[in-house]
C-alpha cells in the first residue's frame, strides 16, 4: 500500500502526497499522486494507472472519503496518469475530469461520459474547489503536446506533472529532494528524452520563475522545496532537451 504525507495544511485546505508502494511490481513505473482538499471536497491530481488503483485508493481512503472527490485533474493523457479513471468514477459518477482540450476525446477510452470532461484551453484556466481557486498552468510539449501543471497560490505549491520527475533507485525513496546535485542526476536522462521542445521549456521556465513556489511536486520522484525549486528551474533552463542519440 502507498503512504500518504500531508505536505501543506491550513484548516480544511490540504495537499496530501500519495507516494511509494513497496508492493508495487517493478515493471510498473512508480508514480506520485496528490490530493488537494478544501471545504470537505477533494481534487485528485494524476490519479495513476488502473493497476495501482488499489494502492492509491486504500492510501487515499485513510485520509479522505473517496466519494467526496469533486474531480480529477489529468496533466496529460498517459496511462500512468489516468487509466484508473473508470474506477474512480465508480465512487462518484458525477465527478469531473479536467484535461487539455487536446485529449478530451482520447481519455474517454479510459472511461467516463461526455459530461465527465472539462476541457482546459491551451492558455489554461482556473479550477474552483469549494471556492479555492487553482490555476491550470500551460506546460505544453513538456512532455505531452497538451500538458498542464496545477498551481495553488495560497499553498504556494506547483504540481508539475512530469517536469521535475526523477526515476530514483529504490535506495533513494525520500519524499523531498535532500541533495539536489545527487538527485538531479536521476532526472537528467528523463528530461532530455521526454521533454520535446527547448522553446516550450524556456517559456515554462520564464512563466514559473515569476510564481511564488514553496514546493514543486512532480509525478515521479521527490518533491523540490525551498531553494531547490529555483535550482531546478535554473537547471532545466540550461538543459538541452528533445535529443536522442539514434
Amino acid at each position: 500500500m502507498k503512504t500518504t504525507k500531508t505536505i501543506f495544511q491550513d484548516g480544511t485546505h490540504k495537499w496530501v502526497a500519495i507516494v511509494r508502494d513497496p508492493a508495487k511490481p517493478n515493471h510498473l513505473v512508480d508514480t506520485n499522486e496528490y490530493l488537494v482538499t478544501h471545504g470537505g471536497r477533494g481534487l485528485l491530481l494524476d490519479p495513476g494507472g488502473a493497476e495501482i488503483f488499489p494502492a492509491v485508493f486504500s492510501a487515499l481512503a485513510t485520509e479522505f472519503d473517496p466519494s467526496a472527490l469533486a474531480g480529477i485533474f489529468a496533466s496529460h493523457q498517459d496511462p500512468d496518469i489516468c487509466s484508473s479513471l473508470a474506477l474512480w468514477l465508480e465512487f462518484n459518477p458525477q465527478m469531473h475530469c479536467h484535461v487539455s482540450w487536446l485529449w478530451s476525446s482520447f481519455i474517454p477510452h479510459f472511461g467516463g461520459t461526455a459530461e465527465t470532461f472539462v476541457q482546459i484551453p491551451d492558455e489554461g484556466m482556473s479550477i474552483s474547489l469549494e471556492g479555492l481557486m487553482l490555476q491550470a498552468v500551460p506546460a505544453h510539449y513538456l512532455h505531452s503536446s497538451g500538458n498542464f501543471n496545477l498551481y495553488d497560490k495560497i499553498a504556494k505549491v506547483l504540481f508539475s506533472g512530469d517536469i521535475g520527475a526523477a526515476l530514483l533507485p529504490s535506495s533513494e525513496n525520500g519524499l523531498f529532494v535532500e541533495d539536489f546535485d545527487r538527485h538531479i542526476r536521476h532526472a537528467e536522462g528523463f528530461h532530455r528524452r521526454w521533454m520535446g521542445s527547448n522553446e516550450a521549456k524556456r517559456r515554462w521556465c520564464e512563466r514559473v520563475a515569476q510564481m511564488e513556489i514553496d514546493m514543486l511536486c512532480p509525478q515521479h520522484g521527490a518533491i523540490y522545496q525551498g531553494a531547490d525549486v529555483q535550482r531546478f528551474i535554473n537547471w532545466f533552463d540550461e538543459l538541452q532537451v528533445g535529443i536522442v542519440n539514434a
Binding site: 500500500m1 488502473a50 485508493f57
Partner: protein, 201 residues
C-alpha cells in the same frame, strides 16, 4: 473472480475471433457460388431444351448463394455481439479484481456495495453471453441445414448435366464445381458447430 475465470474468458474471445475468421471465409465462397450460378444459367441457355432441368437448378443455386450470404451476415452480427459481450466481461473482471484488491487493503464502506453491484452486473453479462452463445449455435445449425440442401442441389445438377447432350461435359464440370464448393462450406460450418466456444469450457 479467479485467474482461471479470466483465462477462460480470454480463451472464449480467441475462439469467437476464430469463428469470425471462418465465417468470413464462407462469405467469400458464397460470392463465388453466385458468379458460378450466373455462368451456369448462361451455359444452360446456350444448351437450350436439353439443359432445361439444369437451368432450373442453376437458378436455385443463385437463390441459395443469396440466402447463404444473408445467413452469414446474421451470423457475423451475432459474432460481433459475442465479441462485445466477452470484451465487457473481461473489462468487468479486471475492474472487479482491482476493486477486490482495494477492499483487501481498505475497509472503506463504499467498496462492499460496489462489489456486490459489480457481481450482479457480471452475472448479467454472463447470462447475456450464454444467450448469445446459444443463438449463434442455433443460427449455425440452420445455416448447416441450408447447406445440406445446397448439397442436394449440387448432386441433382450432376444428374441433370448428364442429359445435356453436346453440353454434358461442360455442365458436368460446372455441377462438379458446385458440389466441391458446397462441400467446402459444409466442412467449414461443421467445424464451427464443433467449436469449444459452444461447449463453454
Amino acid at each position: 473472480m479467479t485467474t482461471e475465470q479470466v483465462a477462460q474468458t480470454g480463451i472464449d474471445l480467441l475462439r469467437i475471433v476464430r469463428i469470425n475468421e471462418e465465417i468470413k471465409r464462407v462469405v467469400a465462397v458464397s460470392f463465388k457460388i453466385n458468379i458460378m450460378a450466373l455462368n451456369a444459367i448462361f451455359l444452360a441457355k446456350r444448351a437450350g431444351t436439353a439443359a432445361r432441368g439444369f437451368a432450373v437448378l442453376s437458378n436455385e443455386f443463385r437463390s441459395f448463394s443469396e440466402e447463404l450470404r444473408s445467413s452469414m451476415a446474421a451470423l457475423t452480427s451475432m459474432v460481433y455481439s459475442c465479441v462485445n459481450e466477452v470484451s465487457m466481461v473481461l473489462q468487468e473482471m479486471r475492474f472487479t479484481r482491482l476493486l477486490q484488491e482495494a477492499s483487501q487493503l481498505s475497509s472503506h464502506a463504499s467498496l462492499a456495495p460496489m462489489l456486490r453491484r459489480r457481481g450482479l452486473e457480471n452475472v448479467t453479462h454472463q447470462e447475456n453471453l450464454a444467450r448469445l452463445r446459444s443463438q449463434l449455435r442455433r443460427a449455425l445449425d440452420d445455416a448447416f441445414q441450408m447447406v445440406e440442401l445446397g448439397g442436394v442441389l449440387a448432386k441433382s445438377a450432376k444428374i441433370e448435366a448428364a442429359y445435356g447432350q453436346s453440353f454434358a461435359a461442360s455442365l458436368s464440370q460446372v455441377s462438379g464445381e458446385f458440389d466441391h464448393i458446397v462441400e467446402e462450406i459444409r466442412a467449414s460450418l461443421e467445424s464451427l458447430r464443433r467449436s469449444a466456444f459452444f461447449a463453454g469450457n
